[in-house]
């Protein structure tokens, strides 16, 4: 598989990354170099090998149970006294690059 300039533009779009022309040229070269190396995975026959998404899937999970029940150990205990306090509003807004002190402000989304 060879990554083309068109592929890079498509993936940049999916990633919400805007690339300059020179960045795009370099990205085509780098992705082809890295993916060329990654091709060696196809040497392995993995038809009967289960996929492993994470370590805790095999460690700590109760294999006799199904679905999310297997991870019961990982669920948070109920907070009996009620919900944990939320982040105070002012702190939640303190890092915002644009706000009116109540809400986050962003450029317009829909043309009127």
């Amino acid at each position: 598989m060879k990554v083309t300039d068109k592929d890079v533009s498509y993936v940049a779009d999916l990633s919400n990354v805007e690339l300059t022309d020179s960045e795009r040229v370099r990205m085509v070269r780098d992705l082809n170099s890295i993916l060329g190396y990654i091709e060696r995975l196809s040497e392995l026959d993995t038809a009967k090998v289960p996929a492993m998404a994470q370590v805790s899937d095999r460690y700590g999970a109760d294999q006799s149970k199904q679905g999310s029940e297997r991870f019961a150990y990982a669920s948070r205990e109920d907070v009996r006294e009620g919900l944990r306090a939320s982040l105070p509003h002012a702190e939640a807004m303190a890092n915002a690059p644009g706000s009116d002190a109540t809400f986050f402000k962003v450029p317009k989304v829909i043309e009127r």
């Binding site: 598989m1 993936v11 289960p50 700590g60 990982a74 982040l87």
Partner: protein
């Protein structure tokens, strides 16, 4: 007393016996940082007022003769991907240049509860993506042993500070070797615990199934002390394991005689520097001399670890880094006319080249038509790599290997070739994929006096044995060569 070369125990007992105050100790480290860190660049942010207030609180305890917590007054540095309430946390990225976290990472909070004094935040590769620290958006870190060379990465600042004596211990993170490789290149100890051993709450995520937090220290005992302090279940991280935390320090002095040390030929093949090889082989012989049994093992899928890692890690990164959108925190590009433009320009201007490369690679691997060929395939090979270790650990207790194929390379040497840089992690990514613990500790120097690291892997949640073997080797080495 040379305050800047104390170990954790040395610092704590000096404070307890009133030989030195925690305040004077912190001041001594800030003085050294002011004089010497300009040439190294290990720190991104200092928090002196806060540190001196913490130190004064420790001094007040010592004054009253009250028992001191285990890390009382110990000056530490924190990798800048770990959040610290009220202290700027950048992840080494321009996109978080002015980010002041509203909460503190659990691992850091536990160190502070144990009396540690946070001096500041350590430089690192942007979002922990890199093996040389050259991807920091601020400035590179230089290796204290030779400032023309890199300290390794991504926890380059954390390793360099311990090596330079500008912190007694630091926290790093390790997604593919980012604690162990810089520890090796700077000549310090670096420990990546088992997946689930230390909470990641407050770690700015890169690849959630591979990210770990661990210590960088001057000695194996210090690493055991820091791990003991941080480890254990945290309700804020559902992947933290509900398992008891052994007293890693108490276990250190148990005998190692009779333990089986595995040696896998796949870690000694083409690409390994000859001096690194002979130094690591000599270390394995030293372990045999302590009564350990050296057993050949095979980890046949090792050659597939780097391609597997760079699919899994980048796929997860492309998802994790979607949160940086210029809305709630972080950099926002000015003058974007629409929301979509704002997202795209903020991310293009805020992220560096390597971060964009990994987001792109990960998005490509997850995109329609390529998911099975890349992401699913990598997850299957991850199973094979993990089975390799399962099989090997039926025969042995610990596996010994080099940490890095080479000693510290020069700044600029690999920075234009991403694939060459990725291969620096060839011996470390396997432990992240399998989730097993791994440590790097100094085992020698090459002809240019550049440090070489020995890596030891253990079974899941068996840090105690890994630390015990590392400690035994460290004691033998210091007895033989007079090095500490």
């Amino acid at each position: 007393m040379d305050l800047n070369s104390l170990t954790i125990d040395g610092a704590r007992s000096a404070i307890a016996s009133r030989e030195v105050t925690a305040t004077a100790l912190a001041e001594a480290f800030y003085d050294k940082i002011a004089k010497e860190d300009g040439a190294i660049g290990a720190y991104l942010t200092l928090c002196k007022d806060r540190a001196l207030a913490k130190a004064a609180a420790i001094d007040a305890l010592a004054e009253k003769g009250e028992p001191l917590p285990p890390l009382a007054g110990v000056p530490v540095g924190i990798k800048d991907v770990l959040t610290t309430r009220g202290i700027r946390t950048t992840a080494g990225s321009k996109i978080l240049e002015n980010f002041i976290p509203p909460y503190t990472c659990t691992a850091v909070a536990r160190l502070e509860e144990a009396g540690a004094v946070v001096l500041g935040k350590m430089n690192c590769d942007e979002f922990a993506m890199g093996s040389s620290n050259e991807n920091s958006a601020y400035h590179p870190v230089r290796n204290p042993r030779d400032t023309s060379r890199v300290p390794g990465g991504s926890s380059g600042g954390s390793a360099a500070a311990v090596a330079a004596g500008t912190a007694i211990a630091t926290l790093g993170t390790d997604t593919g070797g980012s604690i162990r490789q810089p520890a090796s290149l700077c000549g310090v100890v670096g420990l990546k615990p088992t997946y689930g051993r230390v909470s990641r709450y407050g770690l700015i995520a890169f690849a959630s199934s591979l990210d770990h937090i661990g210590p960088l220290t001057r000695s194996v005992k210090d690493a055991a002390l820091v791990l003991r302090t941080m480890a254990g279940r945290d309700p804020m991280d559902s992947t933290s394991a509900e398992l008891p935390v052994p007293d890693y320090v108490a276990e250190l002095d148990k005998p190692v005689r009779g333990l089986r040390i595995g040696v896998a030929k796949e870690y000694f093949e083409e690409g390994l520097d000859a001096e690194v090889r002979s130094s690591v082989e000599a270390a394995i012989q030293a372990l045999a001399g302590l009564g350990c049994e050296v057993v050949p093992v095979s980890l046949p899928h090792t050659a597939y670890a780097i391609p597997t890692y760079y699919i899994v890690a980048t796929a997860e990164a492309s998802s994790n880094l979607a949160r940086f959108d210029g809305v709630r925190y972080g950099y926002r590009s000015k003058n974007a006319a629409t929301l979509s433009d704002m997202y795209r320009r903020s991310r293009d201007q805020g992220f560096g080249a390597e971060v964009k490369r990994r987001i792109m690679l990960g998005t490509y691997a997850l995109s329609a038509g390529y998911y099975d060929a890349y992401y699913l395939k990598a997850q299957q090979v991850r199973t094979l790599l993990t089975r390799d270790f399962d099989e090997a650990f039926k025969k042995v207790d610990v596996i010994a290997a080099p940490t890095s194929p080479t000693v510290a390379f020069r700044l600029g040497e690999k920075s234009n070739d991403p694939l060459a840089m990725y291969l620096a992690d060839v011996y470390t990514v396997t432990a992240n994929l399998a989730g097993i613990p791994g440590i790097s500790l100094p085992c020698g120097e090459n002809h240019e006096k550049l440090p070489i690291g020995l890596q030891l892997f253990g079974r899941h949640f068996d840090e105690a044995t890994v630390l015990r073997v590392a400690h035994a080797y460290e004691q033998t080495r210091s007895a033989q060569s007079g090095v500490q």
